[in-house]
């Protein structure tokens, strides 16, 4: 018998009688103002939130807040004035020197401040992790209350890779002292647009 | 209402005043209390050490002593919890089942069965409540700090009826004292450290007395207090609730 068959046989023999799945549709939060809640949560986790209103304003803000002499990468064609448009075929190692990545979120979650990104909006899987700084464009109407609502929207979508990102990378491994910028971005900015 | 008084082994031997206070308090409140003289122990010291299988004759004796009462009351949350969870008898399981449903720790008996709303007691001291873990997480004598649920405390409810008494606060409202039965011997270093830290939490908030529905926790803390020549005393909750206003 192969290891696979051995394990499956043991599991089948030892598992208890079937126990039903619970109804998780009961978890409903009626958030009065998801944009406000989102903004509070995101700030609370160490993120920077700016109500930009439009992509045009985002461009101005990027110019103002980030060093234009360094590499800024995005997959959003409308930002081509301020960012190099990423090439999804590039070797991920070539992204090592990216200073700022600008990505548009598929959705954002008010209860925890996280944004949901899939690899098609990332341009490249490693980009939101390897960049020194991360900026995410969040459309106000894409904000949902909870993770339950988020998964209801994601539903059965097929993707190769997707991730929730809830702030700048962080660690508190040394004496519980919070340090922003562990291995991923040192900062994360969310630009809210209508 | 016939009440069987269960006085756990170490309370019987080492803290007779707490037992007397329990008896007197129940009598004062009009209960018909008797003490079956052949009682010994609930068997918890053996069971918690992994020897539950050796507790059968102890259990049978318990059933023999406490069958036929309307209620069984004891001034020890830990022993009551053990009986509730683990009392079984090959000889008479029906009686054991009945006892498991009828046994009450003193505080819950006063608040849930007698439902007392006032007490003629006076204790003009600053008192800190030690929530014994078995009373708290086993018998739910108060809300547990880990849960997201409404606050309540049966011991606090009773102590608030005592005139002159001032309850003191704690930083960690329901942390374990480290007694833990034979844990206090087997894990001496951690046990004592836990006890010391509980005491410090009480003393830094000004408690003169530490009280609890469980004397085992108090015995452990008393040992540490006395070794360190502390002026802070331990007292079983029954002794406070039974303290007469005339004495003061």
């Amino acid at each position: 018998m192969s290891t696979r068959e051995k394990i499956l046989a043991a599991v089948k023999k030892n598992q208890p009688p079937l126990s039903a799945l619970p109804d998780i549709s009961v978890f409903k939060v009626h958030e009065e103002d998801v944009v406000k809640k989102y903004s509070e949560m995101f700030a609370g986790i160490g993120g920077l939130l700016v109500s930009a209103g439009s992509l045009e304003t985002v461009k101005d803000l990027v110019r103002k807040d980030f060093d234009q002499s360094k590499r800024i990468l995005s997959n959003i064609p409308a930002l081509s004035d301020v960012a190099e448009i990423s090439d999804s075929d590039a070797d991920p190692h070539t992204l090592e020197d990216v200073e700022l990545a600008i990505i548009e979120a598929r959705l954002a979650v008010a209860e925890n401040g996280a944004v949901w990104l899939t690899e098609d909006v990332m341009g490249h899987r490693v980009l939101p992790y390897i960049a020194q700084h991360l900026a995410v464009i969040v459309r106000e109407d894409s904000i949902v209350s909870t993770m339950h609502d988020a998964y209801a929207k994601i539903a059965t979508e097929d993707y190769g890779f997707g991730g929730f990102i809830g702030g700048p990378s962080k660690t508190a491994d040394i004496e519980q002292a919070l340090v922003l910028g562990a291995h991923g971005p040192l900062s994360m900015t969310v630009y809210l647009i209508k | 209402m016939k009440i069987g008084l269960f006085i756990p082994c170490y309370v019987n031997q080492l803290y007779p005043n707490a037992a007397i206070a329990t008896l007197e308090l129940l009598q004062k409140l009009g209960a018909d209390v008797s003490y079956p003289s052949k009682q010994t122990c609930c068997g918890q010291p053996m069971a918690n050490s992994g020897y539950e299988h050796l507790t059968q004759s102890c259990n049978d004796l318990f059933v023999e002593n406490f069958s036929g009462f309307d209620y069984i009351v004891a001034p020890s949350a830990s022993c009551v919890l053990h009986v509730k969870d683990h009392l079984h008898s090959h000889a008479n399981e029906a009686a054991a089942t009945e006892i498991r449903g009828k046994i009450y720790e003193l505080v819950e008996f006063l608040t849930d069965v007698l439902k007392i709303e006032k007490l003629d007691a006076h204790f003009p001291h600053k008192v800190g409540i030690h929530q014994s873990c078995h009373g708290l997480r086993g018998l739910h004598l108060a809300q547990m700090s880990e849960l997201v649920a409404p606050d309540f405390s049966k011991p606090r409810h009773l102590l608030n009826m005592v005139s002159g008494l001032e309850l003191t606060e704690l930083d960690r409202v329901d942390e374990c004292c480290g007694f833990g039965g034979l844990f206090c011997i087997a894990e001496e270093a951690v046990s004592v450290k836990m006890g010391k830290d509980r005491i410090t939490d009480h003393t830094k908030h000004g408690a003169e007395y530490i009280t609890s529905p469980d004397l085992s926790c108090l015995m452990h803390m008393e040992g540490i207090l006395q070794r360190n020549k502390s002026k802070v005393k331990i007292i079983h909750i029954a002794e406070i609730l039974n303290s007469s206003s005339i004495k003061a």
Binding site: N14, K170, G181 | P16
Partner: protein, 458 residues
């Protein structure tokens, strides 16, 4: 750390430095408080725990079918699947994957399973270097010590000690101990590691049967840095990590980080489904005692664990004895109920390293009755003969005394008489009670004696 000392002895060592115990206790209590605040801010928190527990009950009861479904979907997604019964088989699989690609260096994100399997040692013996990329695990690795906590691997170390390690291994200035500066140094060093490793191994937090994707949660971003820069991505997971459907992630991701460190969600919750072009993805399903644990009705609920570490943070024994005292990869209350399933003799002391206070069960996001299981493991360990014969002897004497009212009365009197009249017989250093505690006053008559004289008069 190789040690033959039991938890009590190791805890006694740890307690020799009281200032350190206070610091350790305080750091973990602070995390427990953050967890409380976070739980209180989450509507329907207790219902969420209940739902998570029920989902895991379903998983345990239907694991066979879920495993087959998960495997099918993994294959559809282009992921290569392996099965391993034990540590040896798991380690061999990892080795063969690396060997086929002639890879000599691998970067690894946090995985308690590979710690338990001693994968790093296995690969190093075969000429493959492994670097742990989680900062805490990296620190533990350079100090040649196992993690003391599953979420906070080096919570027992002072920053000065970490500074000294960095001085020795990374060439930082002597005396440098600022956490931000040390983290920056590690960031720079490990960034180079990520960029140069062809293989990356991650653990798995949740594996979705319905879709074949698996989710890895970190705060540092180390799993993603490793995985997305690698040409060979390996994931190792215990069988119990399965969840039925994608939507169930909503329940678990709401609970995990809040229970662990009081954070609303981990910074990164990465859903790995398909390899990127040119990349290989491998996933190893590891049994290592899980199917055996399923056969133990009293203990199988421990398979629900999502490794948040909440039980450790709340456990006063853990906080005051340190994770390394548990001499097991997974320490604290959850370690004490998982370890005996793997080796009852070696871990016979762990279920006794608890006061059974029950706080662990109350914080557990999947409602494992941890303290009840500790009690049940004690019974099992004694039944299987793994307790000291001296203890059995005294327990039998106690059982005899307590089952006979007559012997009990005499013994009680003797005990009190001894306490009172011959303190030297009891109050000495061989009595662990007396070492730091006075004996109770035993000068009075017992209540039984008092009642015989006064009881009937009332």
């Amino acid at each position: 750390m190789k040690s033959t000392l039991d938890h009590a002895a190791l805890a006694e060592e740890f307690n020799k430095d009281e200032e350190r115990v206070d610091w350790h206790d305080g750091a973990l209590w602070w995390i427990r408080q953050k967890r409380d605040r976070s739980a209180h801010q989450t509507p329907q928190w207790e219902e969420l725990r209940e739902a998570a527990s029920a989902i895991k009950s379903n998983v345990i009861s239907n694991l066979h079918d879920y495993l087959i479904q998960f495997e099918e979907n993994l294959k559809k997604n282009g992921v290569k699947v392996y099965w391993a019964s034990d540590a040896e088989e798991h380690n061999q699989i990892v080795y063969s994957i690396l060997k086929a690609k002639e890879i000599k260096q691998m970067v690894k994100s946090k995985s308690m399973l590979t710690e338990e399997c001693h994968l790093n040692e296995f690969l190093e013996e075969r000429g493959i270097e492994v670097i742990n990329s989680d900062l805490g695990e990296y620190i533990q690795q350079i100090d040649n010590e196992p993690p003391s906590h599953i979420v906070l691997p080096c919570i027992h170390k002072r920053k000065e000690e970490i500074g000294e390690l960095f001085h020795e291994h990374l060439g930082t200035e002597k005396g440098l101990s600022d956490p931000t500066l040390l983290t920056r140094v590690a960031r720079k060093h490990l960034r180079n590691v990520f960029l140069t490793r062809r293989a990356a191994l991650t653990g798995v937090n949740f594996a979705v049967a319905e879709t074949g994707e698996y989710v890895v949660c970190t705060n540092e971003g180390n799993a993603d840095m490793g995985a997305h820069l690698s040409e060979v991505q390996i994931a190792s997971m215990g069988l119990e990590k399965i969840i039925p459907e994608r939507k169930h992630l909503g329940v678990f991701l709401r609970l995990l980080a809040r229970s662990a460190i009081g954070q609303p969600i981990t910074i990164y919750s990465s859903h790995y489904k398909k390899p990127r072009p040119g990349q290989e993805m491998h996933l190893i399903l590891v049994d290592k005692g899980r199917s055996n644990l399923l056969a133990r009705p009293d203990f199988r609920e421990s398979l629900k664990c999502i490794k948040c570490g909440g039980c450790m943070n709340t456990c006063p024994v853990y906080r005051k004895s340190g994770g390394l005292s548990y001499h097991n990869t997974i320490s604290g209350p959850i370690g004490a109920i998982l370890a005996p399933n793997l080796d009852m003799k070696k871990h016979a002391d762990l279920p006794f390293a608890s006061t059974l206070c029950g706080s662990c069960s109350n914080v557990c996001p999947v409602k494992i009755p941890i303290h009840d299981q500790l009690y049940k493991w004690r019974q099992e360990i004694v039944k299987q003969g793994y307790s000291a014969s001296r203890k059995t002897f005294s327990m039998k004497a106690m059982a005899l005394t307590l089952s006979s009212p007559e012997i009990y009365k005499t013994a009680g009197k003797t005990g009190r008489w001894l306490l009172n009249n011959a303190p030297f017989a009891i109050n000495n250093k061989f009595n662990p009670w007396y070492k730091q505690r006075d004996m109770p006053d035993s000068s009075q008559q017992s209540f039984g004696e008092w009642y015989a004289k006064n009881g009937s008069k009332k």
